[in-house]
Symmetry: C2
Amino acid sequence: MNAQTNVTARVDQILGAFMAQQGRVVVLAPGSRSTPVALRVAQLAQAKQLELYVDVDERSAGFFALGLAKTRQQPVLLVCTSGTAAANFYPAICEAKISEVPLLVLTTDRPPELTKIGAPQALDQDHFYGQQVKAFWQLPLPSELAAEGDYTNMVVQRSVQTALTPPQGPIQLNLPLRKPLMPDLALPFQPVASLQQVTTTQTLAAQALTGLQGKRVLVIVGPHDTTSALTDFAAAAQRLGWPIWTDPLSQLRGAAATIGQADLMLKAAQGTLPTALQPEVILRLGGTLVSAAISDWLQAQTCPIYQVVMHADWPDHTLSTTVLLQSTLPALVPQLAALTPAPATWWAHWQAISAILAAALPAPTTRATLTEVGVPQVLARTLPANADIFISNSMPIRDMDDFYQPATATQRLFCNRGANGIDGIVSTALGMSTNSRPHYLVTGDLALFHDLNGLMLTQRYSLQLTVILLNNQGGGIFSFLPQHDEPAYFETVFGTPQTLDWAQVAALYHGRYQQATTSAALVAALAQPVQGLQLIEVPTQREANVAQHAAAVAQIQRALQESGWF
Amino acid sequence: MNAQTNVTARVDQILGAFMAQQGRVVVLAPGSRSTPVALRVAQLAQAKQLELYVDVDERSAGFFALGLAKTRQQPVLLVCTSGTAAANFYPAICEAKISEVPLLVLTTDRPPELTKIGAPQALDQDHFYGQQVKAFWQLPLPSELAAEGDYTNMVVQRSVQTALTPPQGPIQLNLPLRKPLMPDLALPFQPVASLQQVTTTQTLAAQALTGLQGKRVLVIVGPHDTTSALTDFAAAAQRLGWPIWTDPLSQLRGAAATIGQADLMLKAAQGTLPTALQPEVILRLGGTLVSAAISDWLQAQTCPIYQVVMHADWPDHTLSTTVLLQSTLPALVPQLAALTPAPATWWAHWQAISAILAAALPAPTTRATLTEVGVPQVLARTLPANADIFISNSMPIRDMDDFYQPATATQRLFCNRGANGIDGIVSTALGMSTNSRPHYLVTGDLALFHDLNGLMLTQRYSLQLTVILLNNQGGGIFSFLPQHDEPAYFETVFGTPQTLDWAQVAALYHGRYQQATTSAALVAALAQPVQGLQLIEVPTQREANVAQHAAAVAQIQRALQESGWF
């Protein structure tokens, strides 16, 4: 595609998203950099699809837009060129912030290569309005990448919702544009994007869910830290005959009639499900999924994908959601009662697959050397029903996703899955261990080393914590990534093996140390009464680990093929 | 004092500082909150002391000020009321930032209790212009506190220099004001402040230093990480007969004819020097002094205090500097050649005191229990001449200040004295240990624990580091502070004793561990060849430590009294 097509597409994504959110009014302060927006808006205004006001003085334009937004109770799109033009909006933005008026300020900008090197009319427009806007977004330069288009569309739709969420207020969208700036007005207006509909709690009624009526609905539940309303939802889903894929942090792993091994299944099936298992609609709940395989699979789906989000921060990095329900479970669950269940075969098919998956992975024999594949299986069976299990990033949580399959959903799993760091794991687990449930931490050696000092808190506050240390001598996850094929540098900058004697570490922090190389040994170690810190080291091998994971996937693959479904 | 006097004083400090930096032009956009500034400026303009322009439109006022500053090549003071008025300056500020025009923007603001709670015309003016200004300063509310007045004055003078330093640009000063806003115009204009003169390299000539001519000059040298030009300066000072007080981080501690124990001396003399030792002028160099006693003493001085600073960030939290030389040592040292030396008696007196101080503290006997007072003395004598010694905050650097007195200035001392943290001490020392000199770290147990993980780098990069651990079981410095008298809570929230076995720590990181309880043992431990990590633990007692420090001060006190000088 050429530059003209790309710039037209980007403008269409922005305007389309704005219009999808009931945006109708545009105020334009003319200039050069904003050329493609100005022309497209003028064309749409002539076609009565938008209402356009032009004001040559940006300060006045800002306040005019403010007045429009106040009377319409809808966000107005306020557009200007680059440079001090944007600064002239500042007074109106300050007023909008305090008086809670929804404004969508679209500042056009120079491309990166013209920033802060003396190019005319180019100033630093990044976070240009500081604390005076509710949010700032840097939009991507025009390109032919579909992901950037979907991203742009989602950002703009989300920005309208953010602007409208009380306290209402202004948002800055900064759009860099590179010359040539002329759009192709002969191209039809094409507001294509994955996100097609947003329903908020205010507008949530049974009709918002008619798309789920009698359909083969697949539910995917992501991380939840609390479970109250979720249990009601799961019961409703079961009544409707909707299978549920459970993230390891969903607090539903192991619940009746849920599928816990979707990640493994998709890896084994190389991302393609047989027709009988293909949903007509997908319904997502909860935070970002641990499973990259499921996220990838979502991106490849063409069916409608509903996502329930609690507020205007929409967690959908897959950009695959087509219908957003900005609501809460207590508001949603009652609406489900009115729906017709899925066809009975849909439920039956998934229960069959679920049984196949559950049987496919034989538990590690008691005397065989324990692996990172085996540990989650042992934990699921051995830890007490009321255990709180804190899981470290980055490999342990993935292993739990694939191989932790308890018989019931009474154990709770937690992880620092906001920023996915390996820092502060020990201290977070200890902070959580102050409740009355038995506490476990599953971690690699690198994360444990990173927060070693945190262990001091165990004794200081008489906390009880059992650490299951998967010691693969460094950053295990990197062995699964392409850099593993650079052996000359791999250990130095990725593997980073530490040289700690973990028995010494346990002694230093007055803990009990045990090593477990077999599942029998791990079970025995876990059976001992916990007094303060207990460190159970499970030595594993990074290289062998990759092979064991591959073997597990192959095993599932065989089971699926033998089932005749795949 | 009443509110009217206070607000008048604050305005006078601002305007006085602006005028002290050759500021003459004020552009005012009228409003209510800026009332006291507006009235005082109008009064001074009528008296021809300032040049005033009034423009009712703030956007226009901003650009008018920009034009004035461009033609005068001097900062213009641009004043407005609170609220969106300040936002109207934004376009001109953006232009000033890019075209490098010095502007001093004084935004008046609501007092804190009216911020963000719905008060009219009150928005968040904190960092209001984001990246578009070179600096942002929040000025203190009017008050009768002298320190706040001096602070205001220094901030405004410094802001002018910052605005003028290439690349020139705008600065925001935000001044909160509380009603009643009327100043007392009957009060004479009083731009009183400690800082009376600023000389930049451009204007630095011998005449800037005439105040030092033939005077009893006392030099105080603060932290320096490099020594090149400093040695030339010290030689010049010696030729002029100027005694030098050396901070432990000055890299001049132990140099010929310097006084290293000024902190102890001032503590012993309770902050008052006898007339014969009282300087006529003080000349300061380097960063913020470790010694609080010297800083306190500086604040009590009435003589001129010169300070040499390298750039427009003036490090003088004592607010006692009266003459600022914004220059460099290579520019300054040649100017010193033209000066007449101090009277011979001045030099002689200080050499006598220096000898008394040096003799006053007997070295710890080889078999007596080693204390935090004794360790620095042993290190000064025992470590190699080319040692690099990294010192931890917060107690060790103070102990080094008082008790580290080497015979020559060849050893180098370093410390993270920017933010004075106890985090990252081990890693910083190890980062420095990558040069070819022998490396030592002097630290308390709390700082060592804080960065314990850093020890891992020793083995990883085959570094050599000897750690002298002053283990007083927690935060030793707090025993010197008032909270020590709250025994019920002291250990929990200040003492925070750790329960680490340091021999185990050394073993964990493959280091050699030794304990030294006497100076003989410490000397022996330091004599051993260093291979990787060497950890020498010197156990001390927090309670005894306070008494030992007091005894050392008493010892110095007796020596000074016996000398007949004090």
